[in-house]
Symmetry: C2
Subunit: 436 residues, 2 copies
């Protein structure tokens, strides 16, 4: 199915509120900030991701005729309101953390400044876009930190939550340092390297495993990775050694083998020995199956002779923390700072900036100030959109490089998968003074 939707991909209350704002003259300038209230206990940092798609959404924002016809009929909305919606475009300002920036609770990932009705209407889809890529990029970065020098490939499309999740997970993982994805549509759309091996069905469809391996290698003479765990992993590894000379004589190489089940470290050691004894020292071992940063760390620490990993389901669902406690809240309206004090969900008033301080090449602390205060260190929020047009176009390699530089400055304890003491984020005095 197509998930193509216009501006109607939102919650009903956005439209009922906007109708009321307009009927009562609340159309002055508003600033909303998108931030995360608390880190999931399994995360020491987050990676800003998804801004490119968020700005794309704002640039293209409009209701289709079909959406408005349906809404007018379904909700018996006033004609004047529908006509106004038909003309509505986003012409406001956005300031944001550039993609690939590390961030922490209470720090605005993005700020929208625009007339209240339009700034309100875009809430749902903005969160929808930014939360998911941030989730996946953050988990993918944890994987790259525990497996330096290993080939990591995103394999999760089949168990991602729908088509768009599959596409965006591939982008977020690549942004975070993965070598590529198995997802062809993502490869085409985002210019990400694409990787692949073979499935069990390929072996099962043949009457013998050796025949399956010969067929696959001959069809892909420079680039075959043979799956060896359909029946008996060690027997299959010996089969690979047996057929290698036959293929070699034809000018066909075997790039690698994949192990997808069992004790991966044990099997990799046994298979490495069989391949090495058989003269296949250049044939690499690739593994997959229920991998995440915790399993990767075990395998790497254990010294398992595995050259690359397919990381799928647990990455693209961010399985140990499948959502962020994030919100998009009004911080200023008509020049006046705004806040809420709901129990456990209070927000900080005013438009903000985040300043990051460094010592000896390491991040030491962040400070959140009002946007027009001066601070010490590097200001993190940047203007990214003015009058509804984006100010920059950044390529994925640029974002990857930014994140890698930032990860190099991350305090060592935060680089580990285990929970670390929180990174210090100070709230400036001027913000506190705005609270009652």
């Amino acid at each position: 199915m197509s998930s193509e939707a216009g501006a109607l991909l939102t919650d009903l209350y956005q439209l009922t509120m906007v109708q009321a704002y307009r009927e009562h003259g609340l159309t002055d300038t508003a600033s909303f900030e998108l931030f995360v209230r608390r880190l999931p206990p399994q995360r020491n940092f987050l990676v800003a991701a998804g801004l490119d798609q968020a700005l794309d959404f704002l640039e293209r924002f409009h209701f289709t005729d079909r959406e408005l016809d349906w809404y007018a009929r379904e909700r018996r909305a006033p004609r004047e309101f529908i006509d106004w919606l038909a003309e509505l475009r986003f012409e406001g300002e956005v300031d944001a953390l550039p993609e690939g920036t590390l961030f922490f609770p209470d720090e605005p990932l993005l700020r929208v400044t625009a007339p209240l009705p339009i700034a309100q209407l875009i809430e749902t889809r903005l969160i929808n876009i930014l939360q998911y890529q941030t989730l996946v990029a953050s988990k993918a970065a944890r994987c790259t930190l525990v497996a330096p020098g290993k080939l990591l490939v995103e394999f999760g499309l089949r168990r991602a939550h729908g088509a768009e999740a599959g596409l965006l997970a591939a982008r977020a993982a690549y942004l975070a340092g993965f070598a590529g994805t198995s997802n062809l549509a993502a490869g085409m759309r985002f210019d990400i390297p694409v990787f692949g091996t073979m499935a069990h069905s390929f072996v099962q469809a043949h009457d013998s495993e050796a025949e399956a391996f010969l067929h696959f290698a001959r069809s892909h003479p420079d680039n075959s990775v043979l799956l060896i765990d359909t029946w008996d992993t060690l027997a299959a590894a010996r089969r690979v050694v047996d057929i290698a000379p036959v293929l070699h004589a034809e000018g066909v190489g075997i790039r690698g083998v994949r192990i997808d089940s069992g004790d991966l470290a044990l099997r990799a050691r046994q298979v490495r020995a069989i391949l090495d004894d058989g003269g296949l020292r250049d044939t690499t071992i690739f593994s997959s199956g229920d991998l995440d940063e915790y399993r990767l760390r075990e395998l790497v620490t254990d010294g398992a002779p595995i050259d690359g990993f397919g990381v799928g389901t647990r990455l693209v669902t961010s399985a140990d923390a499948p959502y962020l406690n994030c919100a998009y809240k009004l911080v200023e309206y008509a020049g006046t700072p705004r806040f809420k004090s709901s129990e456990g969900k209070a927000t900080l008033p005013g438009r903000k900036q985040v300043w990051r301080r460094f010592e000896d090449g390491r991040m030491t602390a962040d400070r959140i100030t009002l946007h027009d205060e001066s601070g010490t260190g590097t200001p993190l929020l940047q203007p990214v959109m003015r009058a509804g047009r984006r100010l920059h176009d950044e390529t994925l390699p640029v974002l990857r490089a930014r994140l890698q530089r930032q990860l190099d400055t991350l305090p060592p304890a935060l680089r580990e998968p285990d929970p670390a003491p929180p990174y210090p984020v100070e709230i400036g005095a001027a913000i506190r003074r705005l609270l009652p």
Copy 2:
């Protein structure tokens, strides 16, 4: 962004395998079955969902010219193969559990029978479509079981994993018995009732809470639910009582109030007392905030005077079990049953049927047999597509009714959110005889 993609929304290995199948003459008829290996520990049953979108995908299956141009260039694929892909359509057979059917591990949710190359190519997107809706419908059914008679509304679009997840979660929740969704695009696409209240920003944008309530109620005179926890929940409830006579005199009612933070049961009791004392006995209380079947059960058991619940993030991410251990495996090729014996991931050979037995109106046990064996009870897999065309069109109300009937037959222990002893699923002797 648009997630519109053609058949290229798949894993690279599907195409490299298909190229090899064709080059070596493996184009005979294959049957693949999609099933779940194990239930997540937090689930006692699963609800089949997503078949409509799966059949839609198969009916529309094709590569776009742009996709093939990209693939040919990127992978240097043979021209003959690209030309063959351009003409490829799905003209096979599908048997499946009708949507809304309860099912258990090892039971095929769906079987595809078609020439091996096309049956292989569709794997990734089929799993992608069916896993997610099944996840959400299964969790939503658990919510409806613990909160009989309560109004349950799906609120999760913002924290769903992308646009398609948001749309399909609304459908799956409605299929499972929810009253509707906040998601307008899902309302339009699937004809699902849409619900909404107001956000904190609406209150914050006003200089006083009373003014915000008056404005909203006057703009939506028949249908306002006022959010009362922006600053002080009890003071806001008293404010609702204060303004009610003013609005009443204008012919404007207040349908309900929403509480989104704090101790929901305590606050609901206090607010109910304030509303009742103020003569607003018909004004309902709606709650939201980190809800799922566990919290719903607590609130319902506790007798909290809450009439309806918005269930969002934890439902649409299936937060306590964000993926299923599901697979799409070759079970027969060229008339011969096929299996794999990978460690911990073995599969059962042969095309299958599932038979469900009942006693005194309760499900008692299922038995998986070969598809052409006779069995006792009700056969669950039904023909749903022949020659690439679907055989039935079922509306969402029909699917909802099917599931409700099936839930009525579920053994009591399996209806609870807590883990229950597994429902008995027997594997027939004829299947076992096909294993070595």
